[in-house]
Amino acid sequence: MDEILEILEKDGRASIEDIAKMTRNKPEDVKKAIKKYEKEGAILKYKAVINKDLIRENESEVRALIEVNILPQKDLGFEKIAERIYSFPEVTSCYLISGTYDLLVVVEGKSLHTVANFVAEKLACLEHVRGTATHFLLKKYKEDGVILKQKSENKRIAISY
């Protein structure tokens, strides 16, 4: 992967000047490259990874991983039905996977009830959906490569050869 992308993937707020210094490029060139990535859609969005457990008012947020079994359609395969599913705003991620079921759908909602309703009323009754299995998320340990624990302090001695 390009060095600029690697830096941004770790720190979306890295400045153009700093990236230029880190990669030995001119700031203009870095800016151009980033613009190009954004235009092509290689960089889709910049966002913060938030540990929602630490935000009180948000404590009722519920997440579920839903396995969805699908009857593929002639000529269209899984594409059409996947689109119908991932277009729901409640769906935060959607993957086609190998194994005993076809789509893994991540759904977020205000409460257990909302998520259950969504599955029962929107998802399970879609044509071509043969079955679902809903797993509610109990605790997040690691997300997008980030361990959701407060940073530990420095354990090295302050000066050494």
């Binding site: 060095e3 700093d18 880190m22 030995r24 302050a158 000066i159 050494s160 050869y161």
Partner: protein, 382 residues
């Protein structure tokens, strides 16, 4: 109690006091740390833990776990085409430090001279003296901190037994290309001088492929190659290094090792063996990260007016601070007192007056903040 004269003579007093000052201070941003800021990759730690659970809590062979020696044999063969036998040409030591001490004691007769190009890591001279040898320090500061055939020839005499090469170098980050090493090797072979090659930062070479000294023509029988897990795998606290060399030298070193150390901790050896199996990807990732910080810090230092050439390896920058009108110790002390940024004065490493060592084994956030403070510090003195 009358302390041994050799030990009594050992320095360094000024530096010790400065180190104590840093250690006693709170909220310091330290760029004075000679070890990675990463923790050991988890799969390596896990292997150590698992070995404890499995009851591997005893001694190992003096030479080190066979599994680890075999792993090293394969690793060196793959990486450099070097063929060291796991049976009698590889010794596992408590870091490179122990290996160096063993080697000096194994080869030195009283009065033998060991060449030590400086600035360099601090232990080479003292371990030579402890073995009743005489270190001959060579000033490389006028040659871009590199040892050259000319400098070498100037310092060689009948008593010269060996030279300690350290590349990539701590504290300067300087390394050598094959051609330069070949020229050095020719001089060593001509005068029958042993090469003690400390390549513990070898995996952290950025601009070209690292060249292991024993891969040079006819060098293998005339070299003791040192490396370890501390820097590349972020395993400093595990204390695992290794020495590779001619059978007779390794046998002599093993003799001393068996009486003084017996063996390296089995847990650490188990973890190191795992590092060779699954740690390479982590090494590459860390290296890429260091490389970015290197580019960043060199660019920033130069823009501050602290002239700094691009280090080719390790994780140190060695900028010149003469433009501030301060000497190395004054600069380091005042920077600590005024801005709470710790660096190591170049004088700690011999012939480093006018320079400081900055370790970029520190997070980008730390580096950025430290440089803001240094900028303030330097601008006050313009």
């Amino acid at each position: 109690m009358q302390i041994s004269k050799v030990v009594e003579k050992m320095q360094p007093s000024g530096i010790r006091a400065f180190f104590d000052l840093v250690l006693g201070m709170k909220d310091v941003i330290s760029l004075g740390i000679g070890e990675p800021d990463f923790v050991t990759p988890w799969q390596i730690c896990e292997a150590g833990i698992y070995s404890l659970e499995q009851g591997f809590t005893g001694y190992t062979s003096n030479k080190g776990l066979y599994k680890l020696r075999l792993g090293l044999h394969r690793f060196l063969k793959n990486k450099y085409g070097l063929d060291y036998s796991p049976d009698d040409e590889i010794l596992i030591t408590v870091g490179v430090s122990e290996g160096l001490d063993l080697l000096m004691r194994a080869i030195i007769n009283p009065g033998d001279k060991i060449l030590v190009p400086q600035p360099s890591y601090v232990s080479y001279g003292p371990v030579t003296e402890l073995a009743a040898g005489t270190p001959v320090y060579i000033d490389t500061s006028k040659d871009g901190f590199k040892i050259t055939p000319k400098l070498l020839e100037k310092h060689i005499d009948k008593k010269t037994k060996a030279i300690v090469l350290n590349y990539p170098n701590n504290p300067t980050g300087v390394s050598y290309r094959r051609k330069e090493l070949q020229e050095i090797n020719k001089v060593l072979l001509k005068h029958k001088i042993l090469c003690i090659s400390d390549e513990v930062y070898g995996d952290l070479t950025y601009d070209f492929e690292h060249v292991a000294f024993p891969t040079l023509p006819k060098a293998k029988n005339n070299t003791v190659y040192f490396n370890g897990f501390s820097k590349a795998y972020a395993m400093t606290g595990w204390r695992v290094g290794f020495a590779c060399g001619p059978k007779d030298i390794i046998a002599a070193m093993t003799k001393i090792h068996q009486y003084t150390i017996m063996c390296v901790s089995i847990t650490s050896q188990m973890a190191a063996a795992e590092a060779l199996v699954s740690g390479r990807r982590s090494v590459e990732q860390m290296k890429r990260e260091y490389n970015r910080r290197r580019e960043f810090i060199v660019s920033e230092l130069n823009s501050l007016g602290l002239k700094c050439s691009r280090p080719q390896g390790a994780f140190y920058a060695f900028p010149c601070i003469k433009s501030t009108g301060l000497n190395s110790m004054e600069f380091s002390r005042k920077l600590l007192e005024e801005e709470k940024v710790a660096v190591v004065p170049g004088t700690a490493f011999g012939f480093g007056e006018g320079y400081i060592r900055i370790s970029y084994a520190s997070s980008m956030d730390n580096l950025k903040e430290a440089l803001i403070r240094m900028k303030r510090f330097v601008e006050k003195r313009k």
